[in-house]
């Protein structure tokens, strides 16, 4: 430990601490823009500069390590002048339309502008005139707003190893651009949306489709049916000033009905169904010598990644569609039949923690019901906006009930939302299918938590299955390279594109650090623990679906509606 004085306050901090960390320990907040708690130091915005006794230049708090006896001033006149001037410089070259911005009231730059009393900017306001990039169904880039902190670049290249974003040009012409200076759609972007969480401002965001939803609700000829992914409930509270995990499931259903959804169903239902199909697929591959290891296929960002960077390993992917798309295929067939509703009238909306799901729903092959299976995908953030727009007071919203046939779920489906959840859910079912015994302790705790790659060997009555779990595509890449090299010891690998799994998805409430992701993960396992049914095969509506419609896992109907195929993305840059 070393002793440091911050604004006269003495603190002891570890030797390798930065001024920023020492200041935090002293209860002094230093503003930051390029700094991100889960990323490497960049030190490019310079907003965090401080005065250090004995040094002529100001020092960036985020990058400068402390030494014993260091004396730091974080609010001297020179520091305040520098911060304010840097803010003015950035703002004078940034759009002044906070009111129209998707990050209004949730923007790090705006917050600092308020705190530093930016009133009359002495620098003339100029704009760059850069066009928005709306080339993908998932993301919108608005380079005009970019402040060049390069957090998105780091998220994309270092965390996700996708390398879709890079820097072009120099000086004030510098800008973050998709690889090769093309549209995002032509870049290797896999639509995970992790750059959105990284961005301190509104320079990257989801493609918003609230208006499409409102139009559908207003249309008397449309029957608006929704599904909702497990990770949505965990986080949606954050959008309406509730603690993480505090939104009650039935209050949420009530709210959706109040907004005007005709039927509220649950993606959890098809998550349980996915386990039935995928579990049996795994067993089949193991028994019949199929392609192993088998990879999970429920994360569309991951599918895009595999199609882009590992097209040689597409046969290892489970052919199961994601729960969203299984739901889409069933709601316009099985459910429509049961409800005696004309499937042509069904407008199928999916509420997802994910931006890649918007892309997935638009894939041309996703129409096995005879219609586009999922008509519209909204992110958790858009749902939050919808709630604020409609002015719902969640202390007063009456609880509602899920509608029949595709609304029941088990704890196994709930944990799909966290990294390791699909694995754990699959093991709960596969164990019982293989052994014929009841699984007494359903908790496979090895699968839980934020560790990048988790692995285990499971003994299923003598059948030893080696499994691995990776989340965040940088981790996935490590596991995949093993498979490509032929040295992978695993039978089954769960991969989620986003760090933490869907709870950290690109459509979730803006998530500034992994601390928040861990909070959501905790909430998800406590939801699971509190449910009466915790194994997918115990889901009564799933059992009924097999009895009345699908007949058996991997059967003819399943094949037609629930399974898919993958195509290499032969992008020019590779």
């Amino acid at each position: 430990m070393v002793n440091v004085k911050i604004n006269g306050i003495q603190v002891a901090v570890p030797e390798n601490a930065t001024i920023l960390q020492a200041a935090e320990a002293a209860g002094v907040k230093i503003p930051t823009l390029c700094h991100h708690p889960d990323q490497a130091i960049k030190a490019n915005c310079r907003i965090c500069v401080c005065e250090v006794e004995g040094l002529a230049l100001l020092q960036a708090a985020c990058s400068t390590p402390v030494w014993d006896g260091m004396v730091v001033k974080t609010n001297s006149p020179a520091v305040l002048e520098a911060r304010k001037t840097i803010l003015e410089l950035i703002l004078a070259h940034h759009p002044q339309d906070c009111l129209n911005c998707i990050r209004n009231q949730n923007c790090e730059l705006q917050t600092l502008a308020e705190a530093y009393q930016i009133r009359e900017n002495p620098f003339e306001h100029i704009t760059r005139g850069l066009p928005r990039d709306t080339s993908t169904p998932s993301l919108v880039r608005d380079p005009e707003k970019c402040i060049l902190c390069r957090r998105c670049e780091y998220a994309c290249s270092e965390i996700q190893t996708v390398n879709a974003l890079g820097l072009e040009n120099r000086g004030h012409h510098a800008m973050v651009v998709p690889a090769l200076g093309k549209d995002l759609a032509e870049s290797p972007c896999i639509m995970c949306g992790q750059c959105i969480h990284a961005c301190p401002v509104g320079a990257i965001h989801e493609k918003e489709e609230i208006n499409e939803l409102l139009a559908a609700i207003a249309d008397p000829d449309k029957i608006v049916v929704t599904q909702m992914a497990p990770a949505v409930r965990l986080a949606i509270g954050e959008e309406v000033s509730l603690p993480t995990g505090a939104m009650d499931m039935h209050v949420l259903v009530g709210a959706l009905k109040q907004i005007g959804f005709d039927y509220v169903l649950h993606t959890n239902f098809t998550a349980d169904l996915t386990i039935m199909e995928e579990g049996h697929e795994l067993l089949k591959r193991v028994k019949e010598g199929g392609k192993l290891p088998m990879f999970t296929s429920c994360s569309p960002g991951w599918i895009n990644f595999c199609e882009t960077y590992y097209p040689d390993l597409l046969d290892n992917l489970s052919t199961c569609k994601s729960p969203q798309q299984m739901f889409g295929a069933l709601v316009k067939t099985y459910w429509a039949e049961k409800m005696q509703i004309d499937p042509a009238k069904i407008y199928s909306v999916s509420i997802m923690p994910c931006t890649a799901k918007k892309y997935e729903a638009n894939r041309p092959e996703m129409n096995s019901s005879g219609y586009q299976d999922v008509d519209l995908v909204l992110t958790t953030r858009e749902l939050g906006r919808l709630f604020r727009m409609t002015g719902l007071d969640f202390t007063k919203v009456q609880p509602g009930k899920f509608d029949s046939w595709m609304g029941a779920y088990t704890g196994a489906a709930v944990i799909f939302g966290a990294t390791g959840g699909v694995m754990e859910a699959a093991l709960r079912t596969v164990y019982e299918v293989v052994t014929g015994k009841t699984l007494e302790d359903v908790n496979f705790t090895f699968a839980r938590g934020m560790e990048g790659i988790k692995e285990a060997e499971i003994d299923l009555n003598g059948l030893k299955v080696k499994v691995a779990i990776a989340h965040g595509l940088g981790n996935a890449r490590k596991v995949m390279d093993q498979v490509r090299a032929g040295t992978s010891p695993y039978h089954f690998i769960e991969i989620m594109a986003c760090p933490g799994g869907c709870i950290g998805g690109g459509g979730q409430p803006i998530t500034k650090s992994n601390v928040k992701r861990e909070e959501r993960i905790k909430a998800i396992y406590s939801e699971d623990a509190g449910l009466p049914l915790r194994k997918s095969h115990d889901n009564p509506e799933v059992q009924q679906l097999y009895k009345e419609f699908l007949h058996e896992p991997l059967g003819h109907k399943s094949h037609e509606l629930l399974h898919t195929h993958y195509t290499p993305k032969n992008k020019k840059f590779l």
């Binding site: 310079r46 410089l89 620098f123 510098a174």
Partner: protein
């Protein structure tokens, strides 16, 4: 009468730079031999005692820098010669390398022995392709003769950006990345090329090493200014009669540089100002001409020694216009990584243009001063930190030139 003293240019015109035998005959590589007979610590001690400080602009003690790298435990260390020389009006490194490439190689090899490196790079300015050939020829001949021993040197051609002369941007560029400075600490002697301890020294710095080892630190320390001993190669440009390069002891005054070696102002005009140290150097008025050119004396006047470029302006020069052009240079050369430089260089240019075209007012001057303070203190690298110097020194030293332009 002040006189030249040639240490780094000791072989100028006396040897054939393309022929290592000439260099060897003149006593070349003897210092390396001597250094290799000494312990690395003794070599470093000798360089330290000589008082030699970097000739690339920052003026840091060379021996001290080597000591930092020497102390690091690492499986590999690197010696890098900064031959990027992107400063407009500066060509002193070119003169040294063109005429005596082996003196640079020898200095690098002595450094390698001192810090324990086995690999060296010369990062040669992209606009000097012929020079790169001279250097490669020298390296090949030195390898053939076996004088370098296990020390390997590779010549790399620079990427053409001014900022790539900044040592950490240079390192990034050597690694094949975009030429952008890194934050510091850690400094290169601790973590440089591929995160390994790395010494980056200027061409002229390396060219001083062999003479110091050969003749001893006391000899060197006795030359020129006490705290910045030795000589400095200067390049005279602008409105002097004798536009040339010279090597003079560091206690030579600016006045002697311009009026003795430069033979005064061309066309019988009067002196107006001199900018020393390159584009980011300060503008010095008549009243400060008796300042010695050493690093610290220059610093005290708010100016810099920098690379040793001496740009002389006569009475007819329009200072505000000259400075406006300089701000265009920095706007163009800012790498764009850090906010105060990326935005600040652009603003400085805009405000200077406003003043230069007769539209500026007092507030603009105050804003330039504020911007100058902030950039000098908060920018990530020396480019942004020094970019305001020409603006601020002319506002201070040539205020009437500005005032007559204001509305």
């Amino acid at each position: 009468m002040a006189e030249e003293l040639r240490i780094v240019l000791r072989h100028l015109g006396k040897i054939d730079p393309m022929n290592i035998d000439d260099y060897l005959k003149a006593g070349g590589y003897q210092a390396l031999k001597k250094a290799r007979g000494m312990s690395p610590m003794d070599v470093i001690e000798e360089v330290k005692k000589s008082g030699l400080r970097g000739r690339g602009g920052a003026g840091f003690s060379t021996g001290q820098k080597w000591l930092f790298a020497h102390r690091m435990e690492a499986d590999e260390k690197y010696v890098v010669c900064n031959a990027d020389e992107g400063e407009p009006g500066t060509y002193k490194d070119r003169v040294i390398m063109e005429n005596d490439p082996h003196s640079v190689l020898e200095g690098m090899a002595i450094c390698a022995h001192a810090i324990g490196a086995s690999k060296g790079y010369i990062y040669c300015r992209g606009e000097y392709p012929d020079l790169a050939k001279t250097l490669k020829n020298a390296v090949d001949q030195a390898k053939d003769k076996g004088v370098l021993g296990h020390f390997d040197i590779e010549v790399r051609l620079g990427a053409g950006a001014y900022v790539c002369g900044e040592e950490t941007a240079l390192i990034e560029s050597l690694e094949g990345q975009r030429g952008e400075p890194r934050y510091r600490p850690p400094y290169p002697p601790v973590s440089g090329l591929w995160q390994k301890p790395t010494i980056v020294n200027n061409v002229e710095t390396f060219a001083n090493i062999a003479p110091i080892i050969e003749k001893g630190s006391a000899w060197f320390a006795g030359i020129g200014a006490a705290k910045f001993p030795g000589t400095k190669v200067l390049t005279l440009t602008g409105d002097v009669k004798n536009r040339t390069f010279i090597e003079v002891p560091t206690d030579t005054t600016i006045r002697d540089v311009i009026f003795e070696f430069g033979q005064g102002i061309a066309g019988n005009k009067k002196f107006k100002a001199v900018q020393i140290g390159g584009t980011s150097g300060g503008f010095i008025p008549e009243t400060l001409l008796d300042t010695p050119i050493d690093f610290d004396s220059m610093r005290q006047t708010g100016a810099t020694l920098g690379s040793g470029a001496v740009f002389v302006l006569d009475q007819d020069r329009d200072i505000v216009d000259v400075v406006t052009r300089i701000t265009q240079f920095f706007e163009h050369e800012s790498c764009g990584k850090c906010a105060p430089c990326r935005e600040g260089t652009m603003r400085m240019r805009r405000i200077m243009e406003k003043i230069n075209t007769g539209h500026g007012n007092k507030k603009d001057i105050a804003l330039l001063e504020r911007l100058g303070r902030v950039m000098a203190g908060a920018c990530l690298c020396g480019l942004g930190q020094a970019a305001p110097t020409p603006v601020i020194t002319t506002i201070n030293n040539f205020s009437t030139d500005y005032e007559t332009r204001l509305v």
